[in-house]
């Protein structure tokens, strides 16, 4: 067993804005079941018995999941013919086998997903996910890991070779684009951080730069 600690300002990360929404028993029970959380992965201080304490990893994970599940104004429409902002939660639920909290290290990866036949499939969320991310950045990480959990890795690990490869980085950026374009229940600053993160991914995580960047609306709106 590893022991760890962490802190970041829950006002700056947006957790104080989201926790009144995620701290709702029907939502807690829904995600617990749908993402296959297990008590043994989230107790010992991670927050199993304090699911609304934003100084602990579990509440921060719930906030990220709330952002993933309810950022579309028509959140109930989860059809795969809709924009990704609508179906991202469904996709994550259908592909992530189980969601576990772990320490990792603050300088290490945000999350790790193990996938494949004949082995235990899981997604582990780690300290930087809980304490270096804003709420919407956590939602982006979850859709990214969900893409891995669908058995799709990076083809130039840790990068994707191109936009056309259709990998986790593309899913990540697409979700943010639609979050900027459609989400009405968040703050301007939350969207600013998300846009900057998406453009950073476009600059850093594709072997061939896709050649475009998101604007404040996510994408250009035709005249």
């Amino acid at each position: 067993m590893t022991s760890c600690s962490g802190w970041s300002d829950p006002g700056a990360s947006g957790d104080n804005m989201y926790v009144p929404r995620s701290c709702y028993q029907p939502f807690i029970d829904f995600v617990w079941e749908a993402y296959d959380f297990d008590k043994g992965d989230w107790d010992d201080g991670f927050g199993w018995d304090q699911p609304c304490d934003v100084l602990r990893p579990l509440a921060r994970t719930f906030n990220g999941l709330w952002c993933l599940e309810y950022s579309a104004p028509d959140w109930w429409n989860e059809g795969y013919d809709s924009p990704i902002i609508n179906w991202a939660g469904r996709y994550a639920r259908e592909n992530i086998d189980e969601l576990d909290g772990r320490c990792g290290t603050i300088t290490g990866p945000f999350a790790t997903t193990q996938w494949g036949p004949f082995i235990d499939n899981w997604t582990q969320l780690k300290l930087p996910f809980f304490f270096l991310s804003t709420v919407s950045m956590r939602a982006g990480t979850i859709i990214h890991e969900a893409r891995h959990a669908s058995w799709k890795g990076h083809d130039n690990d840790p990068d994707d070779s191109s936009w056309g490869y259709n990998g986790a980085w593309r899913y990540h950026v697409c979700w943010i684009a639609w979050f900027l374009n459609r989400c009405t229940n968040t703050s301007v600053a939350m969207k600013d951080a998300a846009r900057q993160r998406a453009n950073q991914i476009l600059a850093n995580n594709f072997t061939t730069d896709p050649g475009f960047r998101l604007d404040q609306n996510g994408f250009a709106v035709p005249p």
């Binding site: 006002g11 990360s13 804005m17 617990w32 991670f46 013919d81 690990d157 703050s187 600053a189 250009a220």
Partner: protein, 232 residues
């Protein structure tokens, strides 16, 4: 499958000096995702004693061991304050050299990415000040374009300069190396770029677990407790 989990304890927040500048910046950061009217009122208070707020911000930003999104938020607040007195501080943040990103298999997102966002926010804050008429902010952006060692920071600096004044293109172009030429031709994302439909599920994979009804959003209830199904 059974595994032994880790244990966690919340760390203590940093002990900050409780002067007026520190206090007011902390209020602003706390309201960044909160009530917009109250946030605007705090910005007015900051403008009334900008030097105190800048001094506190500079101390806070100097503590790079702590909370990068907290530091990002401070810079966002300064951007919203919109006073050219912040240019020196913003320039220092935008030009700051960062450790090399880890490029190794399995490390997708990492702390270095968030640290870089602090610089990006400073670059965008300089751009906002320059668009409002602060010429020294544009000069700072040219300096970042010329001297920042990261392409992922030179790109935002260039984008800001081109947005401030399209006539900056020629001067900016002269500062770019061959490896950055394509940054001049970046376009805004189009809707069809970000339309996506998942492919069929790999037939070798087990089917997804049973569908759980998604509840209507609600708000904090009086009896929130550990997950009802949480014992397994």
């Amino acid at each position: 499958m059974f595994r032994i989990g880790d244990s966690f304890g919340p760390a203590s927040p940093p002990d900050r000096r409780g002067d007026r500048g520190e206090w007011v910046m902390r209020q602003a950061v706390g309201l960044l995702h909160g009530n917009e009217e109250e946030y605007r009122q705090v910005l007015d208070v900051i403008r009334q004693d900008l030097d105190a707020a800048l001094a506190a911000t500079e101390r806070w930003l100097g503590d790079t061991e702590q909370d990068p999104m907290g530091r990002w938020s401070l810079i966002h607040v300064l951007s919203d304050v919109g006073h050219p007195g912040a240019v020196r501080l913003l320039h220092a943040q935008a030009a700051r050299r960062l450790p090399t990103r880890r490029k190794e298999p399995g490390v997708c997102e990492q702390a270095a990415d968030v640290e870089e966002l602090v610089n990006v926010m400073a670059i965008e804050a300089l751009g906002a000040l320059a668009r409002a008429g602060a010429g020294e902010a544009a000069d700072a952006l040219f300096d970042v374009l010329e001297n920042q060692d990261r392409r992922s920071l030179r790109g935002p600096a260039l984008a800001e300069l081109l947005a401030i004044n399209p006539q900056y293109r020629e001067r900016a172009s002269a500062l770019l190396g061959d490896e950055d030429r394509d940054l001049l031709d970046l376009r805004v994302t189009r809707e069809d770029d970000v339309r996506l439909t998942p492919e069929e599920r790999d037939p070798g994979r087990p089917p997804p677990r049973k569908v759980v009804d998604k509840p209507r959003p609600g708000s904090r209830g009086p009896h929130n407790r550990p997950p009802t199904a949480g014992a397994d």
